[in-house]
């Protein structure tokens, strides 16, 4: 295991137990993240992005079952980790920012309570009541908030979540995540619920803080534009698999997978022929997923083999992978 590799997901498959069967949400997912990198996972709502990262933290819901694959965080196999190893990851090594800042914060506790609790746990002490310890927690919290460009951190620490605006709440969440040094930060659609005017600020904050602290970043988003701004590498995800992965510039210049191409063309441009029609069809039924490639029903370039087998990932160029029969991948398929 290379020392620079922070996260390695191999062939991950996750299903959800529901009334009537299993929702086979994530299938054969591969992902690599090296130290200091910033990558994005781009995909439409419901494609399994959040489920995948939840596996990294071990916070999959009760109904979730990991069918296959492995998730390695540094030298720890997350799926078979001991409680202590898992606690170590959660407290010291990785942090996550959720999509909705309003529901991420407990409404009946002050910001200070919540931030200091997390800092306390990260500093491996828990909230002991010695004065010195509490003032250390307080100082760390204040510093975290001001790193996140929050004005008047002391006042904010005394406030309740409902007294802050959505953008400020998200900054609090970001501050919490990077209050103590971490190897990995996962930001799950951090700007989706915010005003457009704030989105840019928050994104830049995430990008800059991660860079300052040397933290690797996984940004989850449904917007290619956001991914382009922030990430060095982009994973395009569809219905539970990574269909294409490449460096940002290269992906935008020469997208390979039909889905990627359609995504790019559906983004309205100032120059060009106006707004495209989008992509017809919907995500597959996870309860009875198609046998072959999951994008086949919607794919403009579909071939007979696509409906029978699922394509394997092929390395088309350095750091540019695609899972599509148009580019090979005719060997034995993934599950």
């Amino acid at each position: 295991m290379s020392g620079a590799e922070v996260l390695r997901i191999d062939n991950l498959s996750i299903s959800f137990r529901v009334y009537g069967g299993y929702l086979r949400v994530v299938r054969g997912l591969d992902l690599r993240l090296n130290r200091g990198e910033r990558v994005a996972i781009v995909g439409e709502t419901g494609c399994g992005k959040t489920t995948t990262v939840k596996a990294v933290f071990g916070i999959l819901p009760r109904q979730a079952v990991v069918d296959a694959g492995s998730v390695r965080f540094g030298d720890v196999d997350v799926l078979t980790a001991t409680a202590a190893e898992l606690a170590d990851i959660r407290r010291h090594r990785a942090a996550m920012i959720f999509q909705d800042p309003t529901s991420s914060l407990n409404p009946i506790f002050t910001i200070g309570d919540q931030v200091e609790e997390i800092v306390g746990v990260a500093l491996s002490h828990g909230r002991r009541s010695s004065r010195k310890h509490r003032s250390l927690l307080r100082q760390t919290a204040v510093r975290a908030l001001s790193d996140a460009s929050m004005p008047d951190p002391e006042r904010i620490l005394k406030s309740y979540p409902m007294q802050l605006s959505g953008g400020m709440r998200q900054r609090v969440c970001i501050a919490m995540a990077l209050a103590t040094p971490r190897e990995l930060l996962v930001a799950d659609e951090p700007t989706t619920n915010l005003d457009v005017t704030i989105q840019d600020q928050v994104l830049r904050l995430v990008k800059q803080l991660a860079a300052d602290k040397g933290t690797s970043l996984i940004l989850i988003t449904h917007s290619l534009g956001v991914a382009r701004e922030t990430a060095e590498r982009i994973h395009v995800m569809y219905a539970g698999t990574i269909v294409e992965m490449g460096r940002t510039a290269e992906l935008f210049e020469s997208p390979l997978h039909p889905y990627t191409r359609l995504l790019l063309s559906s983004v309205p441009k100032l120059t060009g022929d106006g707004i495209s029609e989008g992509i017809p069809g919907r995500l597959p039924d996870y309860l009875h997923p198609p046998a072959g490639c999951r994008f086949a029903p919607r794919c403009p370039k579909v071939m007979p083999v696509c409906e029978i087998q699922a394509p394997k990932t092929v390395e088309v160029a350095e750091h540019h992978h695609v899972a599509c029969f148009l580019y090979g991948g005719m060997e034995a398929s993934n599950g």
Partner: protein, 340 residues
């Protein structure tokens, strides 16, 4: 916070005044002659006439009300009880602590039992424990407290005589010196443990019978509240940051889940006084509720009005206390009022 309390108190005063008017009207607007009813058919007419004058029955109703209010406010004078021939306020002062004791114990059972059961059900949701708690709570709500009490007295008073079957203290025990009027408290304070124990024994069966309905409701609300909150994002986030499950549960989940429970407990505690009317009568427990029951059955108007007013005041007070507790637990309520 202070403003909040003041506003609630002001509202309470308004409600109490309205309540007094309502009760007064109901008590006075009856067919028949209260004076004659009190004295019986054989008393001489002049005695009845005297009583009528004493009760101001000839005056218009608003004058009667004004006189009554004056009596209450200046001296706590609710008039004379026709049954006990004593001032009603004396009776109330003497009997209220007994009912308070009983209801207090029932409230403790209700709160503790309800929360514990609800938490248990939430943590083991989907398992047989959860279903068992559900069944218990359905039965608890559907069965009236007097049915439980009859059963308990039969089973634990007669069949297996563990508990005494009536009264407040067994013969041979004297009331402890009157500090609060409550047997358990007074005897503990004066280190009279035998009396304390005996008094407690007399309270247990009716207290449990009274508590079961509210306990069941509290259990269900606690369970559903916890289950709802368990799946919230902020709880998942705390897990993702590595907080121990115990910490999350005891601090962050519990506090927010108890908010609806506290609200419902208030109503149930207030209604305990009402159901005590029947339960105290069954076990001949000398409390205010039994007094009220007797007053009702014998049309002892002053006593009825006095008792209902006291109960109404207790109810209003309980709601204020609960509103304050909820506001302390939930800053959203405090803050949105200020904003509004």
């Amino acid at each position: 916070m202070g403003v909040f309390i003041l506003k609630r108190l002001g509202l309470a005063m308004f409600v109490l005044v309205g309540l007094s008017i309502l009760i007064f009207i109901i008590a006075r607007v009856i067919p028949g002659d209260p004076a004659r009813t009190a004295l019986g058919p054989h008393a001489p007419e002049y005695a009845a006439q005297n009583l009528r004058e004493q009760m101001h029955l000839a005056k218009p109703i608003y004058a009667q009300y004004a006189l009554w209010v004056k009596g209450v406010v200046t001296g706590g004078d609710f008039g004379m009880s026709l049954l006990t021939r004593r001032p009603v306020q004396e009776d109330i002062k003497e009997l209220f602590p007994a009912t308070l004791e009983l209801v207090g114990l029932a409230a403790v059972f209700m709160a503790l039992g309800g929360v514990i059961l609800g938490v248990l059900a939430a943590r083991s949701r989907g398992t047989w424990v959860d279903s068992l708690v559900r069944v218990i709570s359905y039965l608890g709500i559907a069965t009236p407290s007097f049915v439980w009490l009859i059963m308990f007295v039969l089973l634990f008073g007669y069949v297996w005589p563990i508990f005494p079957t009536g009264g407040r203290l067994s013969g041979g025990f004297a009331l402890p010196p009157h500090i609060t009027g409550m047997v358990t408290v007074d005897s503990l304070v004066t280190a009279n443990f035998a009396t304390f124990w005996n008094g407690l024994l007399h309270l247990v069966l009716p207290a449990i019978a009274l508590a079961l309905a509210g306990l069941s409701q509290a259990a269900r609300i606690t369970r559903s509240s916890m289950v709802d909150n368990m799946d919230k994002d902020y709880i998942a986030l705390e897990t993702a940051y590595g907080l121990s499950q115990r910490r999350i549960f005891s601090k962050y989940l519990l506090k927010i889940s108890l908010i609806p429970t506290v609200s419902i407990l208030a109503l149930d505690i207030a209604s305990l006084f009402a159901w005590a009317f029947i339960c105290e009568t069954i076990v001949s427990y000398p409390g205010l509720s039994r007094y009220g029951m007797q007053a009702i059955l014998n049309k002892d108007l002053n006593a009825v009005v006095g008792t209902v007013m006291v109960l109404g005041a207790v109810f209003v007070l309980t709601t204020i206390v609960v509103d304050i507790v909820v506001a302390m637990l939930d800053p959203r309520i405090r803050l949105s009022r200020r904003a509004a």
